[in-house]
Symmetry: C2
Subunit: 204 residues, 2 copies
């Protein structure tokens, strides 16, 4: 800043906001790259701000991690909607459901992975994760209402739980990340298993 | 130690080994209680040894966590065996398989949870986890060989992947821990879903 220049408060605030955003982005980027929570030093370096600035913006390191993730999770809200909920034939609904779950994984896996890793130590993130899971569970129940109807409550609950297990994030993680399946191979696994579970008339 | 007493080297070593074990036990206990890696301070307090001793036994904190878990994981080896592998009718094999997976979860969930949380940052633990998963996958393939036979390779692979998704640790975690199902309710979910998947003749 050259001497004599007038620095408007708004200008300083804008720069601070940009720096804060850069720090939050850096946390997320580093987590995605390393699959582990970054050090404050690496965050400062990646964001191009001083270590001191990072500590000034976020005195509490855990809060920094939480804020970075909470922002990304909130940005991903629209991903979790399922257009045409409950509409169409069973095969159409099945296709759409599996396609959506695969899409969420392909677009947001690193963020979700980070959120799940951080959740046990960050109540705010744990709440987001919980709310998301409850949303997805209710969505599955509504989408497959015809297949759940006409069963005992216990059996319907059991089928829904199996659907949840088959399409949870950790299922995609196993198929796509650990087993290295292509999206199409993972789709075939889920379509066949979901169809078998949802059309079976026999309980446990 | 009263003055004049002769301290044999073996006695010192025995005490050091006991203290080391106490430290390793403390790490595991605290992880189980808090579901998060403990601090070195809390480990020292729980183990009843000085902070300095903990650092002397384990100069590297991450190595301490890894050693504590590796020991527990190795102790759990026998849990992962499936007696009568591949023997009996489909329903008998199904019952035994699901019972074994539930048993592993009931007995070792805290240790497995800790191992999975630590794996991204501890290659030794990641290797143990990998080896265990490969073992369980091969076990499922052998146990359900009759149901996988007579399918195309692709379809057999897809059925096996669904079995893996349904019975992986994270599936049990969802049913037992997150949804709070009883062991019997979780058993019903898995039996019905596994039966549907393994007896379905249709691919994805």
């Amino acid at each position: 800043m050259s001497s004599g220049e007038v620095v408007p408060v708004d200008g300083r605030r804008a720069r601070r906001d940009r720096n804060r955003d850069a720090v939050l982005d850096a946390v997320h980027e580093l987590f995605v790259e390393d699959r582990a929570l970054p050090t404050v030093e690496s965050v400062a370096e990646r964001a191009g701000v001083s270590l001191r600035s990072v500590y000034r913006y976020f005195p509490d390191t855990r809060e920094l991690m939480t804020a970075a993730l909470a922002r990304r999770v909130a940005q991903a809200d629209s991903l979790f909607e399922l257009p045409g909920l409950g509409e169409g034939s069973f095969e159409e609904r099945l296709d759409r459901f599996v396609a959506q779950r695969l899409d969420v994984y392909e677009r947001a896996a690193p963020t979700i992975r980070a959120a799940l890793a951080l959740a046990p130590n960050a109540p705010a993130v744990a709440e987001q994760v919980e709310a998301r899971k409850a949303h997805l569970r209710a969505q599955a129940a509504e989408h497959f209402a015809p297949e759940l109807a006409g069963r005992t409550d216990e059996h319907a609950e059991s089928v829904l739980a199996a659907v949840e297990v088959l399409c949870q994030f950790e299922a995609l993680e196993l198929l796509r990340d650990e087993r290295g399946m292509t999206v199409e191979a993972a789709r075939r696994v889920l379509l066949a298993a979901m169809r078998a579970v949802l059309t079976s008339r026999r309980g446990g």
